[in-house]
């Protein structure tokens, strides 16, 4: 099968799955009885979005075009993993600091803020990775 068709199909599948799972997050929020449950829902959603990011980076890594990116002596998948790992550390620092500004680590507001921040930043990263995928697809038409 043409590699570009496969690449585009993988993108479509991941996007569709993302829409279905967004409903699950809302259902979780609606059913949450307290702050701890809300935090759990939000952390789970952030983890899900991160898996989606990871999946898209793996898709990029599987494309021979990206073997020339970053450190060519490493497998592309390792370069993508290093990139994501670095970002996760950055997200953790920022979100814990943001949560700290809310209540200096006291009470559930801090954890809730941290969770929401993690989710929002992960969604933004997903958009950024989508931008890379879109630019590659546009630049390399069939």
């Amino acid at each position: 099968m043409n590699k570009k068709i496969l690449f585009g199909s993988l993108c479509a599948v991941v996007f569709s799955a993302h829409l279905a799972w967004a409903d699950t997050y809302q259902s979780c929020l609606d059913a949450a009885q307290d702050d701890y449950a809300l935090i759990n829902c939000t952390n789970n959603e952030a983890a899900r979005v991160l898996r989606s990011v990871n999946s898209k980076l793996a898709t990029l890594a599987s494309n021979p075009y990206f073997s020339g990116w970053e450190n060519p002596s490493l497998p592309t998948a390792q370069n993508m993993k290093n990139f994501l790992d670095q970002w996760v550390i950055f997200r953790s620092y920022y979100c814990t600091l943001l949560a700290y500004t809310q209540s200096q680590g006291k009470g559930t507001i801090s954890s809730l803020t941290n969770a929401q921040c993690s989710l929002d930043m992960t969604k933004r990263l997903l958009q950024d990775v989508d931008a890379v995928m879109a630019s590659y697809t546009e630049n390399n038409p069939q």
Binding site: E70, W87, F90, T101, Q104, I109, T113, C117, D120, S135
Partner: protein, 152 residues
């Protein structure tokens, strides 16, 4: 109004207001650099000239980010989070360094995906660096605003 709701609004505004950032920014670079004027002149020359404008604007925004971090580092409230490591050291410095590494790698990836298509590599890299610098400055401003709204 609920703090979490306020935070979400502020973060969303920060995430999506990058395009409006330059127009709203009242501070000027010490050397009198005017990004808009630079872009107007450079648009008559080409992509690399535009990229030079973005590189200079990026320097200006990075200085703002530096000042914002130093302001946080000097704030007593953040000492405990920063592990009391003094001025621009400890967790704040780690946060800043980690952001820069992420930004450099992401922009390298983005420019790589655009190679041979729209704009030169230099142009695409500088545009990405500037976008993410503006975004990060908004993130840091949210911290400062959150701190002001935190009750004693």
């Amino acid at each position: 109004m609920n703090k979490s709701f306020l935070f979400s609004l502020a973060l969303a505004a920060g995430l999506f207001s990058v395009g409006a950032f330059a127009q709203n920014q009242s501070l000027q670079l010490e050397e009198g650099f005017d990004f808009k004027k630079c872009q107007q002149k450079a648009s008559l020359i080409g992509d690399d000239a535009l990229a030079e404008c973005m590189a200079k604007e990026n320097l200006r925004v990075e200085k703002l980010i530096d000042y914002a971090y130093q302001s946080l580092a000097n704030d007593e409230m953040f000492n405990a989070w920063n592990k009391g490591s003094g001025m621009f050291r400890g967790n704040l410095k780690n946060l800043y360094d980690d952001w820069r590494k992420y930004r450099d790698e992401y922009c390298s990836l983005y420019a790589f995906s655009m190679e041979g298509y729209l704009g030169t590599s230099y142009y695409n890299t500088q545009r990405c660096l500037l976008d993410l610098a503006r975004q990060h400055y908004d993130y840091i401003k949210i911290l400062q605003e959150n701190k002001k709204s935190t009750p004693d």
